[in-house]
């Protein structure tokens, strides 16, 4: 069957089986391999994308269900070579190690900050509860999102912890 959607601001269409998962359509048909498959059961969050402004898990959704939708993946966040504040935060505050959970984590954080650009630490932790990271213990992910929130509010982010060391 033919599936059409807007992905990262570009209208795309392609052939997919009715059973093709959205994440496979993005990765295999469109070559957007930034969205990762971690568990195929909607528990790890590595496949998180934005669909019509909501963070959704693309491993438990059919490509056909996204027909006509507006999809943003991690590849679509940077604009004109400029990183999204969340991406910048992850880089500046060492919010990633192996990087595999990172695209999904970043997409959840973008949605979180779109709704509340000044979250408390607890709100940040609740906001990314659906995204598992095995490397960072979440410590620096929280710092990265705090950094991004400050940037989005036009404030100076708190200095990195290692800068006082």
């Amino acid at each position: 069957m033919k599936v059409s959607m807007s992905v990262n601001g570009r209208q795309v269409s392609g052939e997919a089986e009715p059973r093709t998962l959205l994440v496979h359509f993005l990765r295999e048909n469109l070559g957007l391999t930034g969205t990762h498959v971690g568990c195929e059961s909607s528990y790890c969050g590595a496949c998180t994308i934005s669909l019509d402004g909501q963070a959704v898990l693309s491993c438990t959704m059919l490509a056909a269900q996204a027909d006509g939708a507006e999809v943003t993946t991690v590849e679509g966040l940077a604009r004109n070579g400029e990183l999204h504040p969340v991406q910048e935060g992850f880089w500046e505050r060492h919010g990633l190690q192996c990087g595999f959970c990172t695209p999904g984590m970043i997409m959840s954080a973008v949605t979180l900050l779109d709704e509340n650009d000044n979250p408390s630490e607890e709100e940040i932790r609740r906001g990314i509860e659906g995204n598992l990271c095995r490397c960072t213990g979440y410590h620096n992910i929280v710092r990265a999102i705090e950094y991004a929130g400050a940037k989005m509010r036009g404030e100076e982010p708190a200095p990195a912890e290692w800068e006082d060391a």
């Binding site: 089986e17 059973r19 093709t20 990765r27 957007l32 391999t33 930034g34 969205t35 990762h36 498959v37 971690g38 568990c39 195929e40 059961s41 528990y43 790890c44 590595a46 993946t73 991690v74 590849e75 966040l77 940077a78 990183l83 991406q87 992850f90 880089w91 060492h94 990633l96 190690q97 192996c98 990087g99 595999f100 959970c101 990172t102 695209p103 970043i106 630490e121 607890e122 940040i124 932790r125 609740r126 990314i128 509860e129 659906g130 995204n131 598992l132 990271c133 095995r134 490397c135 960072t136 213990g137 979440y138 410590h139 620096n140 992910i141 929280v142 990195a160 290692w162 800068e163 060391a165």
Partner: protein, 791 residues
């Protein structure tokens, strides 16, 4: 080090721009034209005779290229193991399967969906047999896991290391003799250190591309040991090492489970060679649970003997470790790593025995810490119970029994190992100060006065890592099966190109440790070169000299030292060239700010000019060869011994058993620090995995050998809401084993954390009579322990 040293400073990681923009290239992202996809048929039984395998329906399906069974691959032999004690894994098994998830057949099809459909269409008839799952049952030999073996016990590790039976008996008798003293207490407890599933978020993936006509392999794999995989593939297919290239590009976490050559990697390569097309396989999460190695899995009794005023007279550990069905890479060697650290930071006599038994479950092998978290857990838990029994501050009991700083360097642990450097008391003091120990206890007591169940736990650890000495081959760690003559060396090649940029090729296979950044820092520091001018190539056996890879907290200490030494060689030659160009004395040349400078003058020459000259022999000093590159192999004289002290504060809801981790303080000492940012990040993640074991994670097999926790629904990982922000500090006691003075940090957090949390929870429940709870401390288990103690 040069005047613009970046060592010890912070630079943003060079690997991040790709990873934060979706540009990271992991194995499953690689697309080669004409790639076919594999899927496996796996046993649903822990122990069964395979009566028949009918592949006809699968073979008849559209898009199926081949279905392979055991007969097709038997000629290749079993899966290689580095320490081949115990049964070796058949690549495919059509005889008697030995664990749920064991591979019975492999399907290759044009598309992964078709491959899975076809795997489901393979009809296997099994005759199920009873399974051996319980460790004590296995040890009894009532039923053998492998009918052709005499015992389920594969090997027993004892300590002190190197002691014969008489010497071990003498240590034991010496401890026993003290037990009857009036001023001595003996505390003993059987404890489970449960099995864990490593769960890197990236599932393992392999893509093999046999190139027809060229007669060579490119193998892309999500592995921590690219050189070993290349050696194994070469061996299986009778190919020279220069005909096999393994590329481990981005690897999405490993934690030890990608530190194996797997049968699927060999089988996918086999299929690619048979079919003449690239073949890819990526495991599902359920396969990752059932068919990728697991860790831990010990049951043991720890006994502490000491005086009522805190002088410990002996520690004994006696237990059983679960090896699973087959021995893979390290398997039986993992508990041996526990022997190294069995006596921790302490000087008391230690008697240690672990029987390694086989069961009808998935193989165990290296999971972050690998033998050392288990050893530290038993020691630090029983030390805590002993402190409680004699009513002394657990920090002070530890202090009283340390190997004193004055014995370093040159201390030999009670387990018989020479240790590099250590200052445990200074580290303890720093931890206590950082936590505000007395204030913390007062805060706890105030909370208790309000009826809350708040507890504080402390634990220390030593780690042994940075393996290691080339001579380990003589202990049986040869890696000969992987064509690695002395695998534990570090190896690095540094090359300056004619334009003055540089490339460092190194045999490590990182999975998040930031090597792109760290190696560039080492080279940049040595050459006074901007890190942006330095390319790092790792995880690629075509480009990099062989090294065993990234595990055991070894990369910085061993390969990093090789990187440093290769850099020194390049620097020495470049200094001669620069002195020649600047008409100065070689002794006055310093490297900084992108070139060479004559000390005390403004005379300088940039790397572009030095490099240009290096490739024009006629302008070089007479007799000097052209080119500017150097290779170094580094074989350390010993392993390194990091250490630390961790402190946790928890609150338990006694009505529900829910545990909340309020504070976590880590004070770690990994010697010199190249990047504080990366080192702290490693500790954060390590602590999270130790807390995960303490509070959530559990690989549960039922008595029929079914893994009940094979999905992330049932295997519970800590999420962001389960953990606090961590409070880290460090002491710095450089090692004298390598030129960088670094010890390694990848596993330290995990080795320190689990017992710290359990000690805190038991402290919180002290007034309710709870003395021990086996991990994981999930609400139901904590609640039950409270009920049992109250009954």
């Amino acid at each position: 080090m040069s005047s613009t040293s970046v060592l010890g400073g912070v630079v943003r990681r060079r690997e991040d721009p790709a990873l934060i923009q979706g540009g990271g290239r992991y194995t499953d992202d690689v697309k080669l034209a004409g790639t076919a996809h594999a899927a496996f048929v796996r046993s649903p039984f822990a122990h069964a005779n395979v009566l028949s395998v009918d592949t006809s329906a699968a073979e008849a399906m559209d898009g199926v290229l081949a279905v392979y069974t055991a007969a097709d691959v038997e000629h290749l032999g079993p899966l290689v193991a580095q320490v081949p004690v115990g049964a070796l894994r058949p690549l495919l098994n059509n005889g008697t399967v030995k664990h749920v998830g064991e591979a019975v057949a492999m399907v290759v099809a044009v598309d992964p969906y078709v491959a899975r459909d076809a795997a489901d269409a393979v009809d296997v008839d099994y005759d199920a047999l009873p399974a051996v799952v319980d460790l004590k049952h296995s040890l009894s030999d009532e039923m053998l896991v492998h009918g052709d073996m005499e015992s389920n016990t594969l090997i027993s590790w004892t300590g002190p290391f190197g002691a014969d039976a008489d010497a071990l008996a003498a240590v034991k008798a010496g401890i026993d003799e003290q037990k009857s003293r009036d001023d001595v207490v003996v505390v003993s407890q059987e404890m489970i250190n449960q099995r864990l599933i490593p769960v890197p978020i990236e599932p393992r993936s392999v893509l093999a591309d046999y190139q027809i006509g060229y007669g060579r392999f490119d193998v892309y794999s999500s592995t921590q040991i690219p050189s070993a995989l290349a050696g194994a593939i070469g061996k299986y297919f009778g190919m020279a090492l220069n005909q096999v290239t393994v590329k481990a590009m981005e690897v999405g976490g490993g934690f030890g489970c990608k530190l194996n050559v797997y049968n699927d990697e060999v089988l996918v390569a086999f299929a690619s060679k048979q079919l003449g097309c690239p073949v890819k396989w990526t495991e599902t999460r359920r396969e990752a649970a059932n068919s990728t190695i697991q860790g831990r899995g010990w049951i043991a009794t720890a006994t502490m003997t000491g005086t009522t005023d805190g002088e410990i007279l002996g520690f004994e550990l006696d237990g059983i470790a679960d090896m699973g069905a087959y021995s893979q890479n390290f398997t039986v060697a993992i508990p041996f790593l526990g022997v190294f650290v069995g006596s921790g930071q302490y000087s008391f006599p230690t008697h240690w025995k672990m029987d390694c038994v086989t069961t009808h479950t998935m193989t165990t092998d290296a999971y972050r810490g690998a033998g050392r978290p288990e050893a530290a857990y038993y020691l630090e838990r029983i030390l805590d119970m002993y402190s409680r029994k004699i009513g002394m501050d657990p920090a002070e009991v530890r202090r009283k029994n340390y190997i004193p700083a004055s014995e370093f360097p040159g201390a030999v642990s009670p387990m018989g190992f020479p240790m590099d450097t250590g200052d445990y008391e200074a580290n303890l003091d720093a931890a206590l100060e950082s936590a505000g120990w007395s204030g913390l206890l007062a805060e706890r007591d105030a909370a208790r006065a309000e009826g809350r169940h708040v507890g504080v736990g402390i634990a220390t650890y030593v780690e042994v890592c940075g393996f290691g000495p080339s001579g380990l081959v003589d202990l049986g760690f040869s890696w000969a099966e992987y064509q690695m003559p002395s695998a534990f060396n570090g190896s690095s090649l540094v090359r300056v190109h004619p334009d003055g940029s540089a490339t460092v090729s190194i045999g490590t296979g990182p999975s998040g440790q930031g090597h792109q950044t760290t190696w560039a820092q080492i080279v940049g520091d040595g050459l006074g070169m901007d890190v942006d001018r330095i390319r790092v190539i790792h995880g690629d056996t075509e480009e990099a000299p062989p090294s065993i890879g990234t595990f055991g907290s070894r990369s910085a200490a061993v390969d990093g030292s090789a990187c440093y030494e290769a850099t020194q060689k390049v620097q020495a030659k470049a200094a001669r060239i620069a002195a020649h160009l600047l008409e100065a004395s070689e002794d006055d040349i310093e490297f900084a700010d992108g070139g060479a400078h004559v000390a005390g003058t403004d005379s300088s020459v940039g790397w572009d000019e030095i490099a240009k000259a290096a490739y024009q022999p006629h302008v070089l000093p007479e007799g000097m060869e052209g080119g500017l590159e150097a290779h170094a192999i580094f074989s350390p004289g010993n392993a390194t011994w990091p250490f630390g002290t961790h402190i946790a504060m928890v609150e338990v809801d006694a009505a529900t058993g829910d545990v909340r981790l309020l504070r976590y303080i880590g004070m770690d000492d990994c010697g010199n620090v190249i990047s504080p940012m990366i080192v702290d990040g490693q500790i954060h993640g390590g602590i999270a995995q130790g807390v995960g074991q303490a509070m959530f994670e559990d690989a549960v097999y039922d008595m029929d050998g079914n893994l009940l926790s094979a999905s992330l629904v049932d295997y519970i990982l800590p999420t962001a809401v389960d953990l606090p922000s961590f409070e880290l500090g460090r002491t710095v006691t450089p090692t004298d084993i390598n030129p960088l003075g670094v010890k390694g940090i990848g596993e330290a957090g995990t080795i320190g954390a689990a017992q710290t949390v359990v000690n805190a929870v038991v402290d919180a429940l002290e007034s309710l009579g709870v003395t021990h709870i086996d991990m994981p401390l999930r609400p139901q288990r904590v609640w039950q322990a409270i009920q049992d103690a109250q009954a």
